[in-house]
């Protein structure tokens, strides 16, 4: 039994490594076309972020919002809904949180921060809940509604940070950069490693991941939520109001994305500004899938994704290739990993490969 588990782990690792290598191989062609040395580029991408305090802390700074969005996506997925509206929910969450932080700058941290997070949660939840309600009661496809709500959220967000909530200093200097005023220090998440951007948000995210795990698998509400998503007909059979649970799932999903907004505001920027999200709403979907839609899988998945982002940044600087190539390589890696899932789900294919591997192994022994 132990041996079986061991073989299984080796197999999984092997598949992921082969998938990533093949993606890098295709990426190497792109790099060659851009006249960069692929070996050097990849060396930088995967070793530099891991070899210093700056790289390591930056990975975790990225991982925190990814983890929260990923958790929200996983909750929605488990309830049978594809939430593509993470971007919009992050922005609404960020603006709700900033509003509270700017309105009560003098509250002590231990009161203000929870309030900011709750406000962000509510903001994101409203935005996600709209799509959930529309799906449940008006049969509006959630993919359509969440994407459209992203556009609306972006415009509302920009209007607020350009207009009513703009930093008064920007107005008086006449520069007009769209951002809110700096939050009072009471609303800042504490930096946990000095001289880095790493803030306590990562701890909040990990705690919430564990919380979501308990919620989904150890509570009756979580049971109903998963039942409604897994088989609506069976859920009705035991008396679960599937529509209401659909709305609940979207409320929670949006709420978690909203808290990712709060993390960026209170942890990184200390204000709401134009590029608050950096695509976390979309990357979060990949993180959730990569983590097997399981909260405890999403923790390492978001770190891996953080590494991809930070490594790509560093590679771009060191071999000076256009940023678009970096994005393309990131995309290739994600595609390769997502498509390699077939090797885990298709048992016949898996068996064939396992047998071949065993043959190779015994062949080695014969040689020696």
């Amino acid at each position: 039994m132990k041996k079986k588990l061991y073989n299984e782990t080796i197999y999984r690792l092997l598949i992921v490594v082969v998938a990533v290598l093949s993606a890098l191989l295709v990426g190497a062609i792109l790099l060659l076309i851009a006249k960069a040395n692929p070996l050097k580029a990849y060396y930088v991408m995967f070793t530099e972020p891991l070899s210093g305090k700056f790289g390591l802390t930056e990975i975790l700074v990225r991982a925190a919002p990814l983890m929260l969005v990923g958790l929200g996506i996983a909750i929605a997925f488990r309830s049978g809904i594809l939430n593509i509206g993470g971007e919009g929910q992050i922005m609404i969450g960020a603006i709700f949180g900033s509003f509270i932080a700017l309105s009560f700058p003098n509250l002590p941290t231990y009161i203000l921060l929870p309030f900011v997070f709750i406000a962000s949660f509510i903001g994101g939840a409203i935005w996600g809940g709209i799509a959930g309600w529309m799906k449940a009661y008006l049969s509006v496809n959630e993919i359509l509604s969440t994407i459209m709500l992203n556009y609306i959220a972006f415009q509302v967000y920009m209007y607020l940070i350009r207009g009513p909530m703009i930093d008064p200093q920007e107005v008086s200097y006449g520069t007009g950069v769209p951002q809110t005023a700096l939050l009072s220090k009471n609303a800042w998440l504490v930096r946990i490693i000095p001289a880095s951007r790493l803030h306590a948000g990562i701890i909040v995210a990990v705690i919430l991941a564990i919380f979501v795990y308990f919620f989904l698998w150890k509570t009756t509400i979580g049971y109903r939520l998963r039942a409604a998503g897994a088989e609506a007909k069976a859920a009705k059979y035991i008396g679960v109001n599937v529509k209401n649970y659909l709305v609940l799932a979207m409320l929670l999903s949006g709420g978690f994305a909203g808290m990712a907004g709060a993390i960026e505001v209170c942890g990184v920027h200390h204000r709401a500004l134009e590029s608050i999200s950096a695509g976390y709403g979309f990357s979060g979907i990949v993180v959730a899938l990569f983590g097997g839609l399981h909260p405890l899988g999403i923790i390492p998945a978001s770190a891996v994704f953080g590494l991809l982002i930070v490594g790509a940044d560093m590679m771009q600087r060191s071999v000076t290739v256009p940023a678009s190539i970096i994005l393309a390589i990131q995309g290739l890696i994600i595609l390769a990993i997502v498509s390699s899932q077939i090797f885990f789900s298709n048992i016949t294919l898996k068996e064939k490969i396992m047998i071949k591997l065993k043959l190779m192994k015994s062949g080695d022994k014969d040689d020696s």
Binding site: T219, Y223, K233, A234, K236, Y237, I238
Partner: protein, 510 residues
């Protein structure tokens, strides 16, 4: 056109799957004009063996001989080129294409951008005339009934020139009438020198249709012989490897007071039309009341309204003298109602959930399985293991997903859940449909056991044998009403049959 198959042999076929020997050294043969039945319980290796013949699996050992020449079949396409066609248990048809287009899909045309639809249409006409398989080539698949869809599958393989037809559990989704039609059709085909391999675990059909029978058990061939030599019960014994006797109710009911009273219920069906029109029925404590009827006469709606899954327009449903009509399903469950639904894979269980999670489906929010909002893992763990043990559910462990269990074991999960909660009343809809005989025996034993524990049971079924075996009374449902209720001592198949056709007074017909 492939050559006529005079004789096909599979010799010493062995096929292994991880951890399972699906086929162990099996020899079978078939001649032209013969109908051979492949009989066995679920998981005996019937489908695997046929998938080897159809080129879907490669065997570890063994050879296939066609007219005494060795052939290697490594894909369905090769199988078709030898004249072997297979109709799978789950139809392989595209619902939003027409019959014509579906048949055309199977043809390999030399022209890449052009479907030779006219050619295909003439071919369909030829085949349907030859065998009397009438079907409208321009109908969309989704418009057809299950029986008609099967006809399309048959036309498809015949159009492709199959001389040998493999039918994998062809009657699983058919009504009794459609089954009879199919059997006539298959015999007609055999007369025209086609060979047919008929996979099934339904003994009556095997008996009715086949010349010879092969019985498989746990991947091995355990018996081969002429069908006529054996009775249904000896075949059942060979299939299960032990004596099978479907339990029969013997003692009289002691039903004194009613547990479920349905009074003049009107309810709408999913199409929005009236499905129940003034239905009244009473079930007593410790009594099994059967509902006989051609499906679509309100059975589904009746089961749903009793369990609160859909609402009634008017009338009363009393459980233990308390009105439960239009109450929330959870409330009705808590008042002691049990329900074995018709769709055991998607309604009775959640396929992606583990056996453990499926076992607690109805009581997960009650103590001791949960306290306030928290599921009590240890108690659930022990409870599920106890039930798996008590009901002999075959599964690797309690974390296995229900989707990977056989139909019989899924039904056992549902039975275990419904009966262990000690209901006062149980609605069982088609509880043995699609199960092999060993599992069916078990289900009936459990229902009788529940009856002796004073549970009232409403048994909905289309199989009159089932109803006559274990019911105290049999009610016949026709167009949303109970036409008549017969006591078991006076109920016969012919009486029930007439009632099911809507004829209440025999004399009037004559």
């Amino acid at each position: 056109m492939p050559e006529i198959i005079n004789k096909l042999e599979m010799r010493k076929i062995t096929k292994k799957f991880p951890g399972v020997l699906a086929c162990n050294n099996i020899d079978i043969n078939i001649k032209s004009g013969e109908i051979v039945a492949l009989l066995g319980e679920n998981g005996a290796g019937k489908t695997t063996l046929m998938n080897v013949l159809f080129g879907l699996y490669q065997p570890e050992h063994g050879e296939i001989f066609l007219n005494d020449k060795k052939v290697i079949i490594n894909s369905p396409r090769t199988a078709f080129s030898y004249g072997i066609g297979m109709v799978h248990q789950h139809f392989m048809l595209v619902p939003n294409l027409t019959v014509l287009e579906n048949v055309a899909l199977g043809f390999i045309s030399k022209k890449i951008f052009k479907l030779e639809l006219n050619k295909v249409r003439t071919k369909i006409d030829e085949v349907s005339k030859e065998y009397g398989l009438s079907v409208n080539p321009d109908a969309y698949i989704w418009q057809l009934s299950v029986g008609e869809q099967q006809r399309v599958e048959l036309i498809k393989v015949l159009c492709l020139g199959a001389n040998l037809l493999i039918l994998d559990e062809p009657t699983a989704a058919l009504t009794p009438q459609e089954t009879d039609e199919l059997i006539v059709l298959l015999k007609e085909m055999a007369k025209k020198d086609r060979s047919i391999i008929f996979i099934s675990h339904k003994l009556n059909e095997v008996k009715a249709v086949s010349n010879r029978v092969y019985v498989l058990r746990n991947g091995s061939l355990v018996y081969e012989g002429e069908t006529t030599e054996h009775s249904v019960s000896t075949l059942a014994e060979k299939m299960a490897g032990r004596e099978i006797s479907m339990p029969i109710l013997k003692e009289k009911s002691h039903a004194t007071s009613p547990i479920l009273e349905i009074k003049n219920v009107f309810a709408k069906g999913s199409m929005g039309t009236m499905a129940l029109e003034g239905l009244s029925l009473t079930v007593g404590k410790g009594e099994i009341v059967g509902i006989a009827g051609v499906s679509g006469n309100g059975q589904k709606e009746l089961a749903d309204v009793i369990n609160g899954i859909s609402h009634i327009e008017s009338g009363q449903i009393l459980l233990n003298n308390e009105n439960i009509a239009n109450k929330a399903p959870q409330k009705i469950i808590n008042k002691g109602m049990g329900y074995i639904p018709e769709d055991r894979m998607h309604e009775g269980t959640i396929p992606s959930f583990s056996v453990k999670e499926n076992i607690i489906m109805k009581d997960y929010c009650k103590a001791p399985l949960s306290k306030s909002l928290f599921l009590q893992d240890k108690i659930i763990e022990n409870y599920s293991k106890e039930l798996i043990n008590n009901f002999a559910i075959k599964c690797p462990d309690n974390k296995t997903a229900c989707a990977s269990l056989s139909g019989g074991n899924v039904q056992k999960v549902i039975l275990a859940r419904e009966l262990s909660r000690k209901p006062k009343m149980l609605v069982a809809a088609y509880p043995i449909r699609g199960l092999d005989i060993g599992a069916a025996e078990y289900v009936h034993e459990q229902l009788l056991e529940a009856r002796s524990e004073n549970i009232g049971i409403l048994l909905i079924s289309e199989e009159l044998d089932e109803l006559l075996d274990i019911c105290d009374r049999i009610a016949v449902i026709y167009e949303g009403k109970i036409l008549d209720v017969l006591d078991r001592d006076i109920a016969t198949k012919s009486k029930l049959g007439l009632l099911m056709a809507g004829i209440k007074d025999e004399k009037k017909v004559i």
